[in-house]
């Protein structure tokens, strides 16, 4: 038996036992209530307790019948939820892992690009200092170095575009987490319908507004994606012309 199947059986067994336990609790409560009820006399009290106990035993098959029906309902819900979770796990979680890895990689790439540009810019500032220190500064060369310096600053700024894309990737990851959280709460409620998570989950964020991010946002293959956009625009325009 696989680990996951073992867990499923454990969950199902636990759910069934809880229901039977609840039924037996109800039986005990009935007995307790009967015992605690004001008695009109020793004989009457004894008769009442005996009747309740006898009645409880008679009710046991019905309780077990109800428990069985509830267990079947719970199992059906579990199967549904499990199927939904499997889909989520296989598709959404996998893509979310990929997105998070891409965030790490994009952040690192951007940092490296910026650091490289910083190194080149620093070298250019040194070159400008050296030109200034010459007895007759070469203004033309200095002008070329300054233009290159501006280019490098621009490269640094452009590299910061990763922030917009990674924030969309993280928004997507956050929405998957919120969705999973809701599903887990649903499962928890299957085992205990009285479960109140509101007090324990005060910090649970809402899912990000789906309009604010693209689940497919990526920093990769920008050139080929731009080429596709250009191709589509050209094709549609030539068809329209």
């Amino acid at each position: 038996m696989s680990d996951s199947r073992t867990q499923e059986v454990l969950y199902e067994t636990e759910a069934a036992l809880r229901l039977v336990d609840r039924g037996l609790d109800g039986l005990r409560d009935d007995e307790g209530a009967a015992a605690d009820a004001p008695s009109t006399g020793r004989a009457a009290s004894g008769t009442s307790t005996a009747l309740t106990f006898e009645g409880g035993l008679n009710e046991l098959p019905a309780i077990l019948e109800r428990a069985n029906a509830q267990i079947l309902a719970v199992l059906a819900r579990l199967r549904e939820t499990r199927a939904a979770i499997e889909t989520t796990t296989l598709e959404r979680i996998a893509s979310t892992h990929e997105k998070i890895r891409e965030v790490t990689s994009a952040t690192e790439d951007a940092a490296i690009n910026i650091m490289d540009a910083c190194d080149r810019a620093t070298q250019m500032v040194d070159d400008l200092d050296a030109i200034d220190a010459e007895p007759t500064p070469d203004r033309e060369r200095a002008s070329t170095v300054r233009a290159s310096l501006r280019d490098e600053l621009f490269v640094m700024m452009g590299a910061l575009q990763f922030q917009d894309i990674t924030s969309q990737q993280l928004a997507h990851a956050s929405s998957v987490l919120v969705d999973m959280e809701q599903r887990l709460i649903e499962i928890a409620r299957l085992f205990d319908t009285r479960l109140d998570v509101s007090g324990k989950m005060t910090a649970v964020p809402e899912a990000p507004d789906a309009r604010t991010y693209d689940p497919n946002a990526t920093v990769r293959d920008a050139e080929s994606r731009q080429a596709l956009a250009d191709e589509i625009f050209t094709a549609v325009r030539s068809n329209a012309a």
Binding site: F154, M157, Q163, D214, A217, A222, Q226, A229, D230, I232
Partner: protein
């Protein structure tokens, strides 16, 4: 020529505005979403650069709303977005977008797209 730059990311707005300044366009207005962009748009704006994914009103909804206005029917709209699947690009075209830039973009691509739309902006 006045540009309206619409993006919910302040970083992206700065990058686009700095890129515009670098190619000689210094007159810019900013908006953080489509609703704000519609409120800021007037006939003095000759070029719109908008993101797609934004709160309150997306770039495509903003473009449709802009196209429905007499003063915005013909202004060039350049969409700059991370979305790049075919269906999205077609949706943007249907909304009235004149050209499309995929993020992350290079300043050269931005310049090319703007240059191509300048005659319409000047008209």
């Amino acid at each position: 020529m006045k540009f309206l730059v619409v993006d919910d990311s302040a970083t992206m707005r700065r990058i686009v505005i700095n890129s515009l300044q670098r190619i000689g366009f210094t007159d810019t207005v900013e908006a953080a979403d489509g609703q704000e962009a519609l409120a800021r748009f007037d006939s003095s704006i000759r070029f719109v650069i908008t993101d797609w994914n934004m709160p309150n009103m997306t770039g495509t909804d903003f473009t449709r709303a802009l196209r429905a206005r007499p003063d915005g029917a013909h202004v060039p709209v350049l969409m700059v977005t991370a979305r790049s699947v075919k269906e999205d690009i077609l949706t943007a075209m249907e909304a009235g977008v004149n050209n499309y830039i995929v993020k992350p973009f290079t300043p050269q691509v931005l310049k090319e797209k703007i240059d191509a739309l300048l005659p319409a902006a000047a008209a």
